[in-house]
């Protein structure tokens, strides 16, 4: 007897994100999928994670997930309500944030992120959100997890604007700039990547079920390091899917 477990690529990515978190870590999150990943980790293997939101919220227990950092739904039952200076200064800049989640318009082969601007084919600059706390998290968190859709226009050899630094142009560059940490993984809807310890270039760590390495590479604008043996990303469990659907995001805000 077999049963098929239905899940979306969103849910697979959220589960992959959750599994990157260790119990007891301090995690900086913003909007969307990372929030689902964090609350999932907290309800499974990592109950003692501390979640911080840059505007001044520690460890909320929302009963509705809310539409972003500024939505009071996301602040409900916090353990502390403070400020940017406290969260980004006294926790992040002091070096206490273990993991920061980042997303963006584009990420490149060295994990640099662009959330600021894109040039369109006519040469016109299109402006976007900018940094917010993104650059700060990318500069001072012990490690960052990048979540991005798997499309060639988003996975570039070099981003057109570095909003949040990854390993810059590779090996040793980040340290030279006086930065700590760096991206540990990039999670897309087709694969999970990490970074080569020497060159700091992006490397395939695992590909998701129902995908091929050809499909993964065909939808990227650069060639990552591909190991000889390619792992498969572990599929979500029934419990994880249940928690996302019924407890964390029952209204489907983020699916």
């Amino acid at each position: 007897m077999t049963s098929t477990l239905e899940y979306s690529s969103f849910e697979l990515m959220a589960v992959a994100g959750a599994r990157e978190l260790k119990d007891g870590e301090i995690v900086a999150v913003g909007l969307g999928l990372p929030v689902v990943a964090c609350f999932l980790a907290k309800r499974t293997h990592a109950p003692n994670i501390s979640i911080i939101l840059e505007l001044g919220v520690v460890d909320p227990e929302p009963i509705e997930i809310g539409s972003g950092l500024s939505d009071p739904r996301f602040w409900y039952r916090a353990k502390a309500l403070t400020s940017f200076v406290d969260m980004l200064g006294m926790v992040l800049h002091k070096g206490l944030v273990d993991v920061g989640f980042l997303g963006g318009l584009e990420v490149d082969a060295y994990g640099n992120l662009n959330t600021t601007q894109l040039g369109d084919p006519k040469g016109k600059i299109r402006r976007f959100t900018g940094s917010g706390g993104g650059n700060d998290i990318a500069s001072s968190a012990r490690r960052t997890i990048v979540i991005i859709r798997h499309e060639a226009r988003k996975l570039k050899e070099a981003v057109s604007f570095i909003t949040s630094p990854g390993y810059l142009r590779g090996s040793g560059d980040r340290e030279k700039a006086g930065l700590v940490g760096g991206p540990s993984v990039v999670i897309t809807d087709k694969a999970v990547f990490d970074f080569d310890e020497e060159s700091r270039r992006m490397r395939v760590r695992s590909i998701h079920p129902d995908t091929s390495i050809e499909d993964v590479l065909a939808n990227m604008a650069f060639i990552p390091i591909v190991p000889d043996e390619i792992q498969q990303t572990e599929a979500p469990s029934a419990e994880e899917i249940h928690l996302i659907h019924e407890v964390i995001d029952p209204e489907g805000m983020y699916r």
Partner: protein
């Protein structure tokens, strides 16, 4: 000594060309009634600053009141980009000094503490820094840490002419409480040369003295106290009312185009005499009542 004044008088105290810090964050605690009155009075040439852009900055930029925006970026969250700011950037009509949330709050903090400069780890290696380094007079520089010898970036303090802070409770002297997270509001207000408090509820000084740990802004920094309920609408004020999803969707839709935004302004800003007219227009007490916060949830 009471500092309670009508909104129009407080707004009239803001000189054209001055630097105004705004208390909003995306769709929370934006001084919208203040922004509307700035537009109605035709005050121009402002520099506006805040850590993360709110609808307060967007509507002021859209109305042409702003020459320069200083912030760490920002959007409305899931309801999208600040279209007026994005459009003004893309059309080259707006000067920008964009950094990051921490850079912004460190600059306000330095101003609040009377520091001449403040070191930061952020921005290194980024194109944000490259852009900031082109600004003259400089807002960023480098120093060697005399204790370790390492090179550090240092930022210049940011000292607004006036901070406009939307709060739930204040007394007539301007002693003001903010409930919920404070984001940059304390450092912003304490760096600024003076503060205009826009309060939802005007309380007695005795009420302030009952729980003085909540006082984020002391009265001695405040020049004007404006008492207006729902003056952050359509954004939220934690503990008092929720943001108005439908009106924000309307604003989002209209502000996508210059014409749409112009229609919005004509109807909701120029088309009303004052804040009371605006509140009637958006649905009056019957509608506003649906936004009133549950006292436990805070929204």
């Amino acid at each position: 000594m009471t500092k309670v004044t009508p909104l129009a008088d407080a707004v009239a105290s803001v000189l054209p060309g001055s630097h105004v810090a705004l208390s909003g964050f995306a769709t929370a605690r934006c001084p919208m009634a203040f922004a509307h009155e700035v537009i109605r009075q035709g005050i121009k040439g402002l520099t506006v600053s805040q850590c993360v852009a709110g609808i307060d900055a967007d509507i002021l930029v859209g109305a042409g009141a702003v020459d320069k925006v200083i912030n760490g970026g920002g959007s409305r969250g899931r309801s999208g980009q600040h279209s007026c700011i994005v459009r003004a950037y893309e059309e080259g009509k707006l000067d920008s000094e964009e950094s990051s949330s921490l850079s912004m709050v460190f600059r306000y903090l330095a101003g609040a503490l009377g520091l001449p400069f403040i070191p930061i780890r952020s921005l290194q290696g980024s194109d944000i820094l490259k852009r900031l380094e082109q600004i003259s007079p400089p807002v960023v520089s480098r120093l060697n840490d005399p204790f370790s010898g390492e090179e550090w970036l240092v930022l210049k303090p940011l000292i607004p002419d006036v901070a406009v802070v939307q709060v739930p409770y204040a007394d007539s002297e301007g002693n003001a409480w903010i409930l919920g997270p404070l984001w940059d509001n304390e450092e912003q207000a304490k760096s600024s040369k003076r503060v205009i408090v826009i309060t939802e509820r005007l309380v007695s000084t005795d009420e302030i003295r009952r729980d003085p740990s909540r006082t984020v802004i002391p009265g001695f920094r405040v020049s004007h106290v404006v008492h207006l309920p729902f003056s952050a609408h359509p954004t939220s004020v934690y503990d008092l009312y929720d943001f108005d999803v439908k009106h924000i969707q309307l604003y989002a839709k209209e502000s996508k185009t210059t014409d749409g935004f112009s229609t919005y302004l004509d109807e909701y800003v120029y088309g009303v005499d004052d804040h009371w007219g605006y509140l009637d227009l958006v649905g009056g007490m019957e509608h506003l009542n649906t936004l009133i916060a549950d006292p436990v949830l805070g929204y």
